[in-house]
């Protein structure tokens, strides 16, 4: 598991922070060991509040880790960097900027690309995510699904080593979510960027990933992992494949166990959310 070829390696990662209101130390994740292989699409699923998003924020460098080590290509992660780009759950678009202006915001913030080049490439990126013709639209004129396309294009334009996706489709309705999953796979297959995808949707995780990791309840750590041996390219019908359903059952069981943890273990743990 700790092979040196890993893109992202987490060893014994623990993350904690102070809850100001209750003045208690909150342990979000503890002892996370995992490795993401180059070019792999890895999904993390887990019960609600298990610290999976917190872990992703640490990978992005937005929050520090309390213990263990977290490395990307062997370098310790201490702050955000151009080698990673996040697709957020909430699109986080600047409402006064057009689609084009929002897509270039990532590279603009990084200062990694000239404006002219950024605009040219952004236009290609916008086409890639299926928003051609909407370059000059404002975010509030777009549907939720379209906003998430902008969110994705902004991340892709920075051409990161690793793409981090934090439940990007969680707020969308069921049909849109399925279309977006299909589109994401299409785009991902063109670039094959290493991707770390956080979700609570088991089907989504299986459908997208090469490997699915299940987190325990809080404080989260890796409970088990599952290689998804479904051939690519995958269309949406694969979700009714018997193999797919076997994976789904297995992950579902695994999460159920976590939800059914006896009350005394709950009490000993950390304050309830």
């Amino acid at each position: 598991m700790y092979d040196r070829s890993a893109k992202l390696a987490a060893k014994g990662v623990g993350i904690e922070y102070w809850l100001h209101r209750s003045k208690t130390l909150f342990t979000a994740v503890k002892g996370v060991d995992l490795a993401v292989r180059p070019g792999e699409f890895l999904a993390i699923v887990g019960p609600s509040g298990c610290g999976k998003t917190t872990f992703l924020n640490a990978v992005d460098g937005l929050i520090p880790i309390a213990e263990g080590s977290l490395t990307l290509d062997g370098r310790e992660i201490t702050k955000p960097g151009p080698d990673r780009a996040m697709v957020f759950q909430q699109p986080g678009l600047l409402p006064w900027r057009t689609v084009l202006g929002n897509v270039i915001f990532g590279v603009e913030a990084q200062g990694s690309m000239g404006k002219r080049e950024a605009i040219d490439r952004a236009k290609q990126q916008i086409e890639l995510v299926g928003l051609k013709g909407f370059e000059d639209a404002y975010p509030l004129e777009l549907s939720g699904g379209m906003q998430q396309r902008v969110n994705l294009a902004r991340a892709l334009l920075t051409n990161p080593e690793m793409l981090l996706l934090d439940e990007p489709f969680a707020a969308l309705d069921a049909q849109t979510r399925e279309m977006m999953q299909l589109e994401l796979l299409k785009i991902w297959s063109q670039t094959r960027k290493t991707a770390l995808f956080i979700t609570h949707d088991i089907k989504e995780a299986i459908y997208l990933s090469d490997r699915v990791i299940v987190f325990t309840r809080r404080p989260g750590r890796v409970k088990n992992e599952l290689e998804i041996k479904l051939s690519r390219p995958r269309d949406l019908r694969v979700k009714r494949d018997p193999q797919f359903l076997t994976y789904e059952d297995e992950i579902w069981e695994s999460i159920q166990e976590e939800l059914a943890v006896p009350a005394e273990r709950l009490m000993k743990g950390v304050p309830a959310a």
């Binding site: 937005l62 909430q90 913030a109 200062g111 404002y138 509030l140 004129e141 309705d173 849109t176």
Partner: protein, 285 residues
């Protein structure tokens, strides 16, 4: 929103069609009359009020001194502009207003942005801002007259202080209200503090800042008039004071009209600017 997604998206994804804009799908097109409704109703209500006022005045239950009609005021207004003094009054008040309000914008914007951005700076200045904002700055006029005499300077000081605090408070609120999600995105892409300030915080604060400017106008105009009422050589406020004391009620009201008109004009102007900055916000109506 979700319905629109359902209808629009899958088709567009499949065919690459441009998703039809929302307006074309609206069933009832608003009629042209509806568009001018605010203007029409507004005009009617003003005309109605003026007529009622004129009728009551015409009944002459009270003399012109106590209740001049709108026609009397209009005549006084025209007569006012036939004298040379009025231009000196307007120039005096205008200069006071321009300098005082201009300084309030410059200083208020700077202090407001600093207080919003640097928490410690806010802690340091909060007591003073609260003290002055909750005190009518007019009460300082006697002190200003002692310090600066009865020329323009004490008026400028009152106008400045009047407009300053609404601008500071609103600007600060604008910076403070920057959406956390936007800051997170900017940080995630490694944006420097300077870039976050210029590209995220400042544009997001514009509506608040302009609201502060707009509130400041009201305070500044109050400052002009009240300061001139107390002691002045020239100015529109002075004109109102003298007309009032010499029982020329129509002339006094003409002066009031001048002040009110200026206020409305400046506020409308700022409202226009505000709308320009908000073109990205879909119309609610």
């Amino acid at each position: 929103m979700s319905k629109e997604v359902l209808l629009g998206e899958p088709f567009a994804t499949r065919t690459g069609d441009r998703i039809p804009a929302r307006e074309t799908r609206s069933v009832v097109r608003p009629s042209r009359i509806k568009q001018y409704e605010p203007l029409v109703i507004g005009t009617f209500s003003v005309v109605f009020a003026l007529t009622a006022w004129q009728l009551v005045a015409n009944a002459r239950i009270y003399s012109v001194l106590f209740l001049p009609g709108p026609w009397d005021v209009a005549q006084a207004f025209v007569k006012l502009f036939q004298t040379d003094d009025i231009w000196l009054d307007i120039a005096t008040s205008g200069t006071e207003m321009g300098i005082g309000y201009g300084m309030a914008i410059a200083v208020g914007l700077l202090i407001g942005l600093l207080m919003g951005w640097y928490t410690r700076f806010q802690y340091a200045l909060d007591p003073f801002v609260n003290f002055f904002y909750s005190t009518p700055r007019i009460v300082l006029i006697p002190l200003f007259i002692l310090w600066f005499g009865i020329e323009m300077t004490p008026k400028i000081a009152v106008i400045f202080l009047g407009a300053l605090f609404p601008i500071i408070i609103n600007t600060m609120a604008g910076v403070r209200n920057t959406e956390a999600a936007l800051l997170r995105v900017a940080r995630s892409f490694g944006a420097s503090d300077a870039l976050i300030f210029r590209r995220v915080v400042l544009p997001g604060s514009v509506p608040f800042i302009l609201t502060g400017f707009r509130l400041g106008i009201g305070h500044a105009l109050t400052g002009v008039v009240v300061a001139e009422l107390i002691a002045a050589k020239h100015g529109v406020g002075q004109l109102i004071a003298i007309a009032g004391q010499t029982f020329q009620t129509p002339k006094m009201l003409a002066g009031v009209l001048l002040i009110a008109g200026t206020g409305m004009l400046l506020t409308t102007l700022l409202q226009r600017i505000e709308n320009r900055f908000q073109s990205w916000r879909p119309q609610i109506k």
